[in-house]
Symmetry: C2
């Protein structure tokens, strides 16, 4: 053996983000940082809203002594791309056969309808079976309005969603899909 056992065990391909145990949020944050650096898009994850229960005051500033996480009534990410308003929610499911709809709250569904109505670009990014799909807001709403099911079958996501391929930097170049779907451009993935 060339390496001691513990080093070999930890060896991971630096080019494959998929295998580095990075979560979807990290992958999207890194992608958005890349877009900002490239002056391509200004999309940010909104801070999780909190309810503050107790604060103390110090010479260096206020410190939160107790707080609770609150639910977001909009989607997690929003910003500006090519002059357009863009907003999306990112969700991971460990479920292999379907995406449970309880992942998206009722007020978020209402919000998606409103954004669609007001000509914003809105979609879901769903990670299922280690694959990442972009599902357009209108396809999502159509599904909800025409079925009574409590989840979206994986097959529906494969057929109606759009696969976002993993890359090095950005790890998830989802704006390529946005270019194709909303700006009618051809996709070329880097290989």
């Amino acid at each position: 053996m060339k390496y001691p056992n513990n080093i070999q065990k930890n060896y991971q391909n630096p080019l494959s983000y998929k295998n580095r145990g990075m979560d979807l949020e990290e992958e999207l944050n890194l992608s958005n940082e890349y877009y900002i650096e490239m002056d391509k898009a200004y999309i940010y994850k909104k801070p999780t809203p909190i309810g503050i229960a107790d604060v103390s005051y110090h010479t260096h500033g206020k410190v939160i002594e107790k707080a609770y996480f609150k639910e977001q009534s909009t989607l997690d990410y929003n910003g500006l791309y090519r002059g357009k308003y863009i907003e999306y929610e990112a969700k991971v499911t460990k479920n292999k056969t379907s995406f449970p709809l309880q992942n998206i709250h009722e007020h978020q569904i209402k919000h998606i309808r409103n954004i669609l109505k007001h000509q914003g670009i809105v979609f879901l990014i769903i990670k299922i079976n280690e694959m990442v799909y972009l599902l357009k807001g209108d396809d999502f709403i159509n599904y909800i309005d025409t079925t009574k099911k409590k989840s979206i079958p994986y097959q529906f996501i494969q057929e109606n969603g759009h696969l976002i391929k993993y890359g090095f930097n950005p790890p998830l170049d989802y704006l390529k899909i946005v270019d194709k779907l909303y700006f009618k451009e051809e996709i070329q993935w880097q290989t």
Copy 2:
């Protein structure tokens, strides 16, 4: 005297938000709620980002036991109006003769430049001398780029900003100004 002294003292005109001691943030939040209710615009204040130092786990969920306020690198409010991306910062100054530029951080100024470049609608809402003005992002950047002063004189704001008149509901109908400046519509204030 018709009323006991303590009641008379607390009497306030319910029609005048200006005099109710409501702060600018509240006035804008109420205005944005009104716009959402009227299905006119979807603009929200971003939660203040926090850095979490300690968390405890309970049967009802996670509780933040210690956290710190972090600086926003974007502006406070953003959203969607008439198919366009809109973003702004709201600031109050007690200074009567000028608006100190230290109110807007360096990375926020950079962000304003980026939003302008990418065709977003971006501006400041400044409350000074109990008057509220909308100052377009490009006028603000022009001022910064052509002067070395550490503040914007009140006279500059009066001449280049756009007065947002107080009303009942919404308390600050700033989208009227946006309609005029960005969609070339005539202003009609309700009286």
